[in-house]
């Protein structure tokens, strides 16, 4: 039937990538149940903890998740005001990079 176009394609099969992506994703989704549902609570707690020391607004906290290979990382960015009294432009400070739930 369709012998044109795809017979030359000797690159690694995309289906292998599909399987790998699914295995990683589903291990997450099945394993810890609804995976990211704790994140809003985590964020609230972080903001509260920080507020005990510095004045930050609720939306000054950014949480990013990333996965490379079999390691997932959770990156938390907090914008801290330069000076509490002046309303100076907030500096972005990488406050912490935590390894979270690394799953194969």
């Amino acid at each position: 039937m369709n012998l044109f176009g795809f017979t030359f394609n000797r690159k690694p099969k995309s289906s292998a990538q599909a399987k790998e992506r699914l295995q990683i994703l589903l291990a997450h989704e099945r394993g810890s149940g609804p995976s990211a549902d704790f994140l809003p609570l985590l964020q609230r707690d972080i903001v509260e903890a920080i507020k005990r020391y510095v004045q930050v607004s609720d939306d000054a906290v950014g949480i990013r998740m990333d996965s490379i290979g079999d390691v997932s990382s959770l990156e938390i960015n907090i914008e801290l005001p330069v000076d509490q009294k002046t309303e100076a432009k907030p500096v972005e400070k990488k406050a912490g990079e935590k390894k979270a739930a690394a799953k194969g």
């Binding site: 990538q17 599909a18 906290v61």
Partner: protein, 272 residues
Amino acid sequence: MSKVIVVTSGKGGVGKTTSSAAISAGLASRGHRTVVIDFDVGLRNLDMIMGCERRVVFDFINVIQGDAKLNQALIRDRRLDNLYVLPTSQTRDKDALTQEGVEKVLNELREEFDYIICDSPAGIERGAQLAMYYADEAVVVTNPEVSSVRDSDRMLGLLSSKTARAERGEEDQIKSHLLLTRFDPKRSGDGEMMSVEDVLEILAIPLLGVIPESPAVLRASNVGVPVILNEKSRAATAYEEAVARLDGEDLPMKIEGEKVPGLMSRLFGRSA
């Protein structure tokens, strides 16, 4: 001026998510700030097609319920820096979507983006209705097949009655475009499948494009790259042209198969 465009169909599995991903990537490639929203609450899939499934922290429902800020939920595409994905929740159900919540999120997005693409769930329930409610334009995804065409007709009815623009009774109604997908020029040429002309005659809305049935679509979904950004393919080219039209370009319609079938069947017809 920002535009909210719903990608809808009624019938399931006709290519809404594939098209939403391709259209949003295409618009972003053309230089527009674009966001694509997954309205299929509980069955998150757009993230996989866009290849950002492992970067989801917060979702659309978190934002609607005030658990996260919009900019915390938006995922920036790794390939195009003016393309963002707003994933949906995998754990909640459609009732978590509220009209006020959707309106608020869309209004906020309108301030930042040129195009807001809403990937609708199948069906005519809450999720599908909310995906279309605030739309300025609609891309009606249809396969050349009786139940799909019938469902598209039904969606056109809803678009012209159950949406904000319809209810306000403005002169400026939702602009609907037909995107015919999974089109097989050979089977259409053989009279085995309805032709583009047939479908257009029935639905009577302007044609945005015709996307051929193509194995490139599956390969793109395997690797999590919108088909338009993956390998060069006929489906990718067809999507590029459809996007150009959506973006206001006046491209002539080269309907694959409407002329080609003669040639195709002469060349390959008898052996197939």
